[in-house]
Symmetry: C2
DNA sequence: TGGACAGATAGAGGGACTTCGATACATCGA
DNA sequence: TCGATGTATCGAAGTCCCTCTATCTGTCCA
């Protein structure tokens, strides 16, 4: 899809083009914060893992064992285990072993952190 | 002086927001929604692109031309152009050509939609 | 009109990711 | 103790992503 919008701006000051590239960057996040935030977003940036998170939240009690995820996801056990590990290492879910099962649960605060990190910037922008 | 500014915004995922940003906590999301949401998160899941978004928001007027991003990011022009393209195709930023510069701007609503989709219902989830 | 400059594109190299089958580990029940 | 079952890890194949250099397009100014 390509949207073509045509804007017609009147510029009163011919020299204004030179101002366009004034140095900016005040209050932008630093490299460290970006490097810390990206992996968590990367953990979320997979259809399978989004579905896993959604399924965990929707599950009765907010928990589900890994074996119950394989069938609806139509993925092999090692693959599901891999995705759960990624989510675990990103701090987005936690697992609790109960006998031979591991019950997984979403950590809501972690999701909220990410959401908040994306939201406040909108205040200054709008 | 009259400048004619042309907006060319390509969205690789047409109609994606309608299905992409169903909150994760409102029942189990289906495969289509997950497939639509993941690429937008993937666009965000890169330190360079997070910094670009932050820099655009922090810039005076909320816009910056691509050339001003290269130095602080310490990346080549093609690399910065590539990242801007990814953000553009995810619908997270838009570019507006002014003369030989292209001014980029974050689309706050898009960020807000992602944030809303991630925001868990802490009351029920915790 | 030609040089200078901003931006986009093409292609390549190196690395990371997703998925699988095979296999090891952990726990339960008989 | 032994077999069954749930989970984790390993290694491989294929794909995708980030970055670069080289090059092309588009725009401005002398």
């Amino acid at each position: 899809m390509v949207d073509i919008l045509i804007f017609v701006n009147e510029c009163r000051y011919p020299g204004v083009m030179e101002i366009c590239c004034t140095p900016l960057h005040e209050g932008e996040i630093d490299e460290l914060r970006a490097e810390a935030m990206a992996p968590v977003l990367a953990a979320l940036a997979d259809p399978v893992r989004l579905r896993i998170i959604s399924m965990l939240i929707a599950a009765p009690g907010g928990t589900s064992c890994g074996c119950d995820l394989e069938a609806p996801l139509e993925l092999s056990q090692p693959t599901v285990s891999h995705h759960l590990k990624v989510l675990r290492e990103a701090g987005l879910v936690e697992g609790e072993r109960r006998g031979r099962w591991v019950h997984y649960r979403v950590i809501p605060a972690r999701l909220a952190e990410i959401a908040d990190a994306l939201t406040p910037e909108l205040v200054t922008a709008s």
